[in-house]
């Protein structure tokens, strides 16, 4: 099963996604962390997320790019967090800007689905600040938007978390 968890900044997406993973019952739980720490603020974020996950039995795999080549243990339950970081990592690379990543990343998600029992993906609603960004940032929005649409099409459930409250756009609690 694929569950896509989306929402705005600081809305309680992660806590909700972790609960979804636990609701699948006993399983080998893999947390795919996509955030690279560049500065103290990102270290702080990562520490906060680690504290939230502590005691929930997750094994962490740090994976910043190339989801399509990732090999997972059998029958595991995966929590990938978060798609917005993964897309940024694939686009803004050391060797330059890669404008078209949506196919590759969608393929990467298919790769996870072919191996894992259940996959929960946290993504992000970044599309409503009414600002038209120039160049690379606007392209980034487009790619993440495309990927979110692709994920939703594949997903059994899509849920937007609004201040901790689930708003189901597809499927539902029992999907």
């Amino acid at each position: 099963m694929l569950v896509v968890v989306t929402g705005g900044s600081g809305s309680g997406k992660s806590a909700f996604a972790e609960d979804r993973v636990l609701s699948f019952g006993e399983a080998r739980r893999i947390y795919i962390a996509t955030m690279q720490a560049f500065d103290e603020e990102s270290h702080r974020r990562i520490r906060r997320h680690r504290r939230m996950r502590a005691g929930k039995g997750f094994e962490t795999i740090e994976r910043y790019t190339e989801l399509d080549e990732l090999i997972l243990p059998k029958n595991c339950v995966v929590l990938l967090e978060c798609m917005s970081n993964l897309v940024a990592n694939e686009m803004f690379r050391e060797d330059g800007f890669h404008p078209e990543v949506s196919e590759k990343i969608t393929e990467g998600v298919r790769n996870l689905l072919s191996q894992a029992e259940h996959v929960v993906i946290v993504t992000n609603e970044i599309f409503s600040d009414g600002i038209l960004y120039e160049g690379e940032s606007e392209k980034y929005k487009e790619q993440l938007g495309k990927i979110n649409c692709n994920l939703a099409e594949m997903a059994d459930a899509v849920v937007e978390v609004v201040y901790g409250i689930p708003v189901w756009h597809k499927g539902g609690e029992k999907a």
């Binding site: 929402g7 705005g8 900044s9 600081g10 809305s11 309680g12 603020e41 609603e125 970044i126 599309f127 409503s128 600040d129 009414g130 600002i131 960004y133 940032s137 929005k141 609004v162 201040y163 901790g164 409250i165 708003v167």
Partner: protein, 126 residues
Amino acid sequence: MEMIIGGAYQGKSSYAKKQFPDVKWKCGAELTEEELLEAEGVLGFHQYIRKCLKAGANLSGLTEKLAEKNPGVVLVSEEVGYGIVPADAFERQYREAVGRVCTELAGKSSKVTRVVCGIGMVLKND
């Protein structure tokens, strides 16, 4: 406690005033903590959070204080977390703080309504 949330210019305040015609409304941007803890209704609660952060005040414990001292308050607040992560550090902090504080408050609220185009959708009603 009750919350009315939504994007900018969606008619949150008019919706709130219609739902609660007898409530005395205060503006979040102008409130002290004491006033907040006594207010019947607050419009622009996100601006209260912004004002606190600007002043370097600590927001931890605010939810508990409100739940204990002003459990009947109606908070109207803008959803500000649906855009690209701002380049400015204070704007990032503000955006996240509004999310975290409102997530806590929504947990304590008996009712949360989101207003889009003036229309309220009840997300939570315990």
